[in-house]
Symmetry: C2
Subunit: 222 residues, 2 copies
DNA sequence: GTTTTTGCACTGACCAGTCAGTTCAAAAAC
DNA sequence: GTTTTTGAACTGACTGGTCAGTGCAAAAAC
């Protein structure tokens, strides 16, 4: 149908996909505005219910600009996912490494990562919301992106668990992937509940509640 | 806009809203088929990306039948939510009560509820998926339905925790709502990961991994 | 004979993606 | 140092298609 202009369009999409390092400062700023607009709208309404017009409007930009910067609505979304999870993964890794450097054990590392997770969710609640909402969907275009990105984050937790098992700090009977998923879930759901239903509480407060649960200090009075 | 036909539509919607007990058996069967079709499609694609035509087709029913049975697409979805969470809540409550009757303590009750949660997710993975995807969204039509329904389920866990605190089995320092949310999250995320990424594992397997985590038997070899 | 379902044509709103045209800052030409 | 050219970035009206919901007469089920 549009064979007439098919080639230019394709080239435009190719040239300007992915987290282009060669973007001008202006362009990078526009992309950032679009990420910020998209993340809150999609967190609130979901991907399909959010229109490109809305995203453009909230970013204070014309619709055409969205398509000048991203090949399509779903590409915008995929890059948003990669961007966000990159931040989270870096933060988790940093927490684990810092604890190790300070001579803490596996439990300290897990605790530090819980805090890093809470800090992240505190700062980017909309991203977290959107991530959870999309993670377990099947048959979606960005399925593979999500898998990769999920594995990056969970792998950090698994690494700490595995090391703990190796040096005898954790029981050999623990199931590393499942326990990692459960820990992530614990933090994720507790934090989302915190943000949604009792946002006035402090991060320290939430952190100490989760620490207690992690260390099995729930049963038994003290 | 549709004042011309506004009244008949409203009447039809009124007559036939909510989990009508007065429905004929035939009608109830049709509704059930529609729930089943809708739950998988929406879990896969999300609410907005799922069309009424698709739901009707998968249920093996004419589109008109959908609107004969439900006032709108979102009413169908809301009733689906209520229906599903009703099943879950009943199952959790039953587990807690059975344990209590058998003379078990709070930890046993929590453990039984973890299992009940896993059994539920094992049986209705699509519903769980869809529930998680919608729970923390804001600005949606069925927001209030979700809140009510969430509270029902979490309240069961909170009840067990509170009772444990009252009789001294659990520390008085635990934060009941937050700990309940964290426990729910632990089960939810672990189970969704199980179903999505290692579906071949047995329920018992997953259950024992979570039990261990609950009882703080992660640290310390044994 | 009443309730429920069917089949299908129809409408109007909405929306992803397109593209011809505009803007403007910096480079090139003079 | 002034004028001209260039091209990346941006704009917004427009298009082709999709979809929720309607209307209704006839058939099937009860």
């Amino acid at each position: 149908m549009n064979g007439r202009i098919g080639v230019p369009v394709t080239i435009r999409a190719m040239e300007r996909s992915s987290t282009t390092p060669g973007g001008s400062a202006r362009r990078e700023a526009t992309r950032q505005k679009l990420y910020e607009a998209a993340v809150t709208l999609i967190a609130e309404q979901g991907f399909s219910a959010t229109t490109v017009d809305e995203i453009a409007e909230r970013a204070g930009v014309a619709k055409g600009t969205v398509y000048y910067n991203f090949a399509s609505k779903s590409v915008l979304f995929e890059e948003l996912l990669r961007h966000g999870v990159g931040l989270l993964t870096a933060s988790l890794r940093e927490a684990a490494e810092r604890t190790a450097a300070e001579g803490g054990g596996g439990v300290d590392a897990l605790d530090a990562m819980i805090r890093a997770g809470l800090v992240f969710i505190d700062r980017y609640p909309a991203f977290t919301q959107l991530y959870v909402a999309e993670l377990w969907r099947t048959n979606r275009a960005w399925q593979s992106t999500l898998m990769v990105v999920r594995q990056q984050a969970v792998a950090v937790v698994e690494g700490v668990l595995r090391e703990g098992v190796a040096n005898g700090e954790f029981s050999e009977e623990i199931d590393v992937p499942l326990t990692a998923a459960a820990l992530v879930g614990m933090v994720l759901v507790a934090a989302l509940d915190w943000k949604s239903f009792q946002p006035e509480r402090s991060l320290d407060d939430v952190h100490s509640a989760l620490s207690r649960l992690l260390q099995g200090r729930v049963s038994g009075r003290r």
